[in-house]
Structure formats: structure tokens, C-alpha cells
Subunit: 104 residues, 2 copies
């Protein structure tokens, strides 16, 4: 479980960020910077915890698995395994911290 940094980068009056903070934010924005991953996140937001088998968006199974790994490593999603199946869900605090960074 990685700690979620809550910094503000982009709202008017945001203080200057350290290199590490900038890099961390960039990593999490990068996780959202792909249409397939955004579609996955959007589906998880709409339906809550969802089976991997329902997260196919016109790409192959290994590609889905790869994107889920990117989202996991960015701390944006969690996985719960039940037998052979895996169920993913959003980590709301992670998304909220990004919204806060943008000034939401």
C-alpha cells in the first residue's frame, strides 16, 4: 500500500513543487493518459468492482492485463482475487488526490 501524496500543482497560487512530487504526479497522470486505461477507469467508476473479463475494450487479454498493471502501480485501482477470477475497483482517494492537485 503506497501512500498517496496530496499536493497542489495546478490551481492558481499552488506552491512550487519538488522534483519528486512532480515526478509522482506525472506518473499518475500518465496512467490516465491512454484511452484504453481511461475506458477501464470509467467502467470501474460506473459499475464499481468489476471482473477483468468485463474490461475488454477491443484489445487483447494480455493488453488488458498490462493496462491493469499500470493502473495498479499508479495506485489508482485495487484488485481482489476470487479463485481464478480477479475483480478490480477504483481507489477513490487516489483519484480525489489528483482532482485536488488540479484544484478541484
Amino acid at each position: 500500500m503506497k501512500k498517496i501524496a496530496t499536493v497542489s500543482c495546478c490551481a492558481p497560487g499552488s506552491p512550487p513543487l519538488r522534483d519528486r512530487e512532480v515526478a509522482g504526479l506525472a506518473t499518475r497522470f500518465k496512467a490516465l493518459a491512454d484511452p484504453t486505461r481511461l475506458a477501464i477507469v470509467n467502467r470501474l467508476a460506473a459499475k464499481g468492482e468489476t471482473c477483468v473479463c468485463e474490461l475488454n475494450f477491443g484489445v487483447s487479454q494480455p493488453t488488458v492485463s498490462h493496462h491493469l498493471k499500470v493502473l495498479r502501480e499508479a495506485g489508482l485501482v485495487d484488485v481482489r482475487r476470487r479463485g481464478t477470477w480477479a475483480y478490480y475497483r477504483l481507489v477513490p482517494e487516489a483519484l480525489r488526490s489528483l482532482a485536488f492537485a488540479l484544484g478541484g
Copy 2:
């Protein structure tokens, strides 16, 4: 001047997005998915309208120019030219719409 779409992708209960909406959001997140560009945005947020000549973050002048173009095309920044100088500033609505998309 491009219109800013205000959709919600990632907050719990967000409705499913169309492909075009997903692609548009991905493009804007991609603009934030680079440390140099995030540093530029952070500086603009901290200082307001700023001369290009103050936006060097250890990269060459053509690289700064390239990143500013990416941010411009994503609609995240605006430019105002005064003679030979160019002054960039954030487009607050664009950043707010991204924060909204994340559920802020």
C-alpha cells in the same frame, strides 16, 4: 479557441463515456503526463502569466517550445505575444474541467 468538454469519467457513478470523450480526456491527461510540462504548469499556477524565458527547467529552448505547444494544443495554456516575447498563462476552466472529470 476550442470548446472544453465537461464530462465525468472517474467519480463513482460516472456514466459511460463515448469514445470521443475518452480520447479527448486522454489527450489532456497526456499533456500533464510529463515532468517538464507539469513543472511548467506548476510555475504558471504559482506565478500567473509568465515569459517563456522563465520556463526553462533544465531542458533546451526548442524542448520548452515543444512542450508549450503540447500544452497549447491540449487547451491547458494560452499565449499572448508582445513583440519578440511570448507570455503563457493557464486556462483555469480547462484545469477545472479535468478536476471535475476526476470527481473533484
